[in-house]
Subunit: 345 residues, 2 copies
DNA sequence: CTGAAAGCGCTAACAG
DNA sequence: CTGTTAGCGCTTTCAG
């Protein structure tokens, strides 16, 4: 057994490829060759190196490798607080896809200046690329220094003015489907609980819904459009309380997010108003919770897994061939009918 | 305006401290001094460097800095899939605490070999430390090479055989409180929905509950102890369906996790059995969802924020003074009474 | 106070 | 096939 190298204070020094080389009786570069595996090494020496690697429990110093290769093996994912249950699902999906590609995921919080942090990380080369899950028009100036060849991808939300690859759901048609669903079942007084327009997802869902209704000569009464200050359970609840206390209360409400819809259902519950007996409630996202007995929410499902998978893939493509063209992809969405909005015959 | 350096293929080269030095008319080491700020620099030259820094939009290369300083500015957090809503809340809290400390968070998925990945990252020096949120006895061998001075901290779950700092909740007394709550309100037939014992949280909650009942001469009938194969809505639901179909069904159930409890409530709902009229249901964690109208879950609250804050602090302490002693801290928990288990007088 | 110079550990030419 | 060598960009002595 060799003597471990030690600092003056007695700490064990980390094992370097030099230590491995010494132990295997080869040069340091041969160790490197075995590690990277792209250059031919005689099988017997390879075995010797492999053995030394194992015995010393060696792991290459990532910082040193990064300096040479320019690759860190990590990507930043900028996402909102995880209080909206759609985001954990999306983050999980991104993590899984990244893991498959051998990449580490650094999470940055959009509400805590995460986008600026990600921009800094990219310039500092501490990540190979960035996935923006919650970009807004506000983001545009932050990324103005980058062109389509930059390793940046948007998922979930879209920002048309940005030149990067973008993967989102087809929110317009998903919401239009909700509108037609209401009309087909003769819902007369229709309401909308929406959110700030800064998120493209919200804007598209709102437009898709309202336009489809207007196209059918059934425009929504402007008094029935509630714009929540944020996407949260409490905001959905408050908006619904307001709607339900009107003299002529609506008979169907579309909420641009499941979280708002769940707050809305809870508001109805508080007032002893039956969902769907007295009022239908529909959400958007199809989070896990939407399928559980407490809510049984009719909603539009978004392909979060697919979005994540494609986002990571687009990022990897960009790293390999920066000049390939970028595009905005819209994945199909689908109405999922459950108890919160359905007819019984 | 200076010429940007370019690669042969025409890409803009990243700005280095050399570029900044040249522009400011000083040596590269002076730029470094200004950057690190620990060495005195004449104010006028400092200003000149600062200006150049700004103009070139410089960001120091993290890999190069890491090589010199040994610090990466990132920590790994190993956590389970985010499908149990307690974990996003915990991760959010950790992220926030880490951000405050100027650290990036790399998320690793315990179910996808995240612990091994974290161990590798630590040896590769791609992270400064590791927070294990979902460690089990299984983890022990992975970390056997490390002693108390290693930058590793456990939060949420505890593994006694590990020598690291550990921050958890007082699950035993929280669960005992549930037991006494049941007894005080005369609940006779008491059941438990628990989970695999590999998680210390589960083991402690289970023991705390059962021991408190036994101490009061009200031991739980072994037929009323359901051990779910995993912590999920579906497992909670199935366990509850079984309990409710017994001839003498229980009048109170404690679930070792809110997610199980929510599944249990949904099972009761399916069978038209009233909660809390026919049966009380209590969970553990106090996730956000527990307070919403669809479940109104009585549960034991855990200080996730505090756990995260302390975990990050413990890690930072370890980095600064590796020899300080480690300990297992148990933060207080608290019964939160809501509709799923309460009496009306 | 400032510049010159030595490496951190690795990869990738370049010579044998 | 293998060893020698030159840096990657930064921090930190060491000399002025």
């Amino acid at each position: 057994m060799e003597q471990k190298r030690r600092t003056p204070s007695g700490d064990a020094m980390p094992v370097t490829s030099h230590d491995v080389a010494q132990r295997a009786g080869v040069s340091q570069s041969t160790v490197s060759r075995v590690l990277t595996g792209d250059s031919a090494v005689r099988e017997t020496t390879r075995q010797r190196v492999l053995a030394a690697l194992e015995e010393l429990n060696y792991a290459p110093n990532v910082a040193a490798r990064t300096m040479k290769t320019g690759r860190t093996g990590a990507i930043a994912v900028v996402i909102s607080r995880l209080t909206n249950p759609f985001y954990p699902e999306l983050l999980d999906a991104v993590s899984e896809a990244a893991l498959e590609a051998g990449l580490h995921v650094i999470v940055m919080n959009a509400e805590m200046d995460g986008e600026a942090d990600a921009a800094r990380a990219l310039r500092a080369r501490s990540v190979d690329g960035v996935i923006l899950a919650t970009a807004t028009e506000e983001s545009a100036k932050l990324w103005s220094g980058y062109d389509r060849s930059a390793p940046i991808v948007l998922i979930n939300r879209v920002v048309e003015s940005l030149p990067f690859a973008q993967i989102t759901g087809d929110h317009v048609s998903g919401s239009a489907e909700v509108a037609r669903f209401f009309l087909k079942h003769g819902r007369q007084r229709i309401a909308l609980i929406t959110a700030p327009l800064s998120a493209s997802t919200t804007a598209e869902r709102e437009a898709g819904f309202l336009d489809a209704l207007a196209a059918d000569k059934a425009p929504v009464n402007s008094g029935n459009i509630m714009r929540a200050a944020a996407v949260s359970h409490e905001e959905g609840r408050q908006a619904m309380l307001f709607l339900l206390r009107q003299p002529q209360r609506p008979t169907a409400v579309f909420c641009v997010s499941d979280l708002l819809a769940i707050g809305a259902i809870d508001a109805a519950r508080e007032l002893n108003i039956s969902v769907p007996g007295d009022i239908w409630v529909v959400g958007f996202d199809n989070v896990q919770l939407a399928s559980w007995g407490g809510y049984q929410l009719t909603t539009v499902s978004q392909p979060a897994k697919e979005m994540a998978r494609r986002g990571v893939k687009a990022l990897l493509d960009r790293l390999d061939k920066p000049r390939a063209r970028t595009e905005i992809v819209r994945l199909p969405t689908q109405l999922v009918i459950r108890e919160s909005a359905r007819s019984w015959f």
